[in-house]
Symmetry: C2
Subunit: 272 residues, 2 copies
């Protein structure tokens, strides 16, 4: 079964997508054909979109779903007249919030922009550059400035997690790959010892690691099950021995790994 | 005026935050003290949270706001009993969606995880590594694999935008900094010429660039208003002359820059 879904916003469309996807994820057995239409911020563009939806509905004979986050009331009303089943966050909740807060909402587009004020922008970009400069053990002399240092075998998810922590939460995350040489003497690598309280381990199932490493270097020792098994087992022993908190990344998305680390390590976000 | 807000989820909490923040951004004059409580995925944790909210309400004498995305009905009901003004995406929309789709929702936690299936994970991580390897003009021999190549002066926002495009949408984005040397002969730098159709320019206001560069290297020629003005003017002339589409990043967040580039350049997302 197919159903067309439109995510419509007068801004980036990211909230409309996130809200719609979360709801749709509950419905198996239906294939959703998704289209995001961001920056529908004038009555003209709204009319065009409404016309497009009407045409789609007439041509297919199936009413599409619309998930929208439209702040401007005029634009919202134009979209709402289109032949679709509408789910609109703002129309649904704003009135109730106005009553609760005893205040009128601004009903203006681009409000979210304020969260990217200059100071926060710097914090965020600073964290992204921190992650880039302290990726993959490249430098170890800036760990005093780290909020967290991720450790684990090559390709267990450290780099994307550090970047996500930086981008989404402004957290300064470094990462250090535990290599075979590090495992030889079964001690914490020297550059990490002074920062034990910032260490967090990532582990992964061997089969998954083989698949990821194979994409990078097929039929190599690096991507062999034997090698992956060995590295993972030794890193896990090290993490346990040193009592370093850790999570298994195998079945988690980058978002899940990142938010679980924050919850588990109890670190503070710098962006709120 | 202060008001406490809880974002509560049985998953990462990212949708609850995004949904709540979008709504709250419409209300000026109120300072919201925000707390995100992710992974509230057992009745026990839910009871703890409900108790925490009740205590907060009693102690402060002010009813807090709760924005939640709770899939599990039992957990949702426990949270809903807490003394707060509740805004719950699932409770609000799921019944209507079930009727519209003639199907019951799964009501199970962690559904969103399916979007991070192995193939999509590879696509996403591949794009992140592509952005890292092709950042800042480091390599120019993989531009045939790029979906887009961002160009502009140093520190106009190219790197974080490329990383965001990769992480959020799986788009392979390279970036190339236009330097003074490049501007001398007023032509497109040689490595870019074969990829004209993939080029997208970022510009920025000089005052903003001065502020960003000053954080990196204060009181230098690099961060002087004169130098910033000159570089920006020349890059803008080049972009206009070569008819390369471009946007001014000054007043936009990374999310806005990224989604506007996608809309303007008409590139396809690889993650849906």
């Amino acid at each position: 079964m197919h159903r067309t879904v439109f995510f419509i916003s007068d801004g980036t469309g990211i909230t409309a997508e996130s809200f719609g996807q979360s709801l749709l994820a509950q419905f198996d057995h239906i294939t959703f054909d998704r289209r995001t239409l961001p920056y529908i911020d004038t009555p003209e563009k709204a009319q065009e979109v409404a016309h497009h939806i009407d045409t789609h509905c007439t041509e297919t004979g199936i009413v599409p779903l619309v998930f929208s986050t439209i702040v401007d009331e005029t634009i919202g009303k134009i979209i709402a007249r289109a032949k679709a089943k509408h789910y609109d966050i703002f129309a649904t909740f704003t009135k109730s919030l106005e009553q609760e807060l005893h205040i009128h909402s601004a009903h203006s587009i681009g409000r979210k922009r304020q969260i990217d004020s200059n100071a926060l922008y710097s914090e965020r970009i600073g964290a992204v550059h921190y992650a880039l400069n302290n990726d993959d053990g490249a430098r170890t002399n800036h760990y005093d400035k780290a909020d967290i240092i991720l450790i684990g075998v090559s390709r267990c998810g450290k780099t994307p997690t550090c970047l996500y922590l930086a981008m989404q939460f402004g957290i300064r995350a470094a990462n250090y790959p535990i290599t075979e040489e590090d495992l030889e003497d079964f001690h914490l690598p020297e550059p990490l010892r002074a920062h034990r309280d910032k260490l967090f381990g990532l582990t992964i199932e061997a089969e998954r690691l083989v698949a990821i490493r194979t994409e990078r270097r097929a039929n190599s020792r690096y991507s062999s099950l034997r090698q992956c098994n060995m590295e993972i087992a030794e890193v896990e022993r090290l993490l346990t021995k040193e009592r370093i908190p850790h999570i298994d990344t195998t079945h988690f998305s980058i978002e899940e790994i990142s938010t679980r680390i924050i919850a588990s390590a109890g670190i503070e976000r710098r962006l709120k």
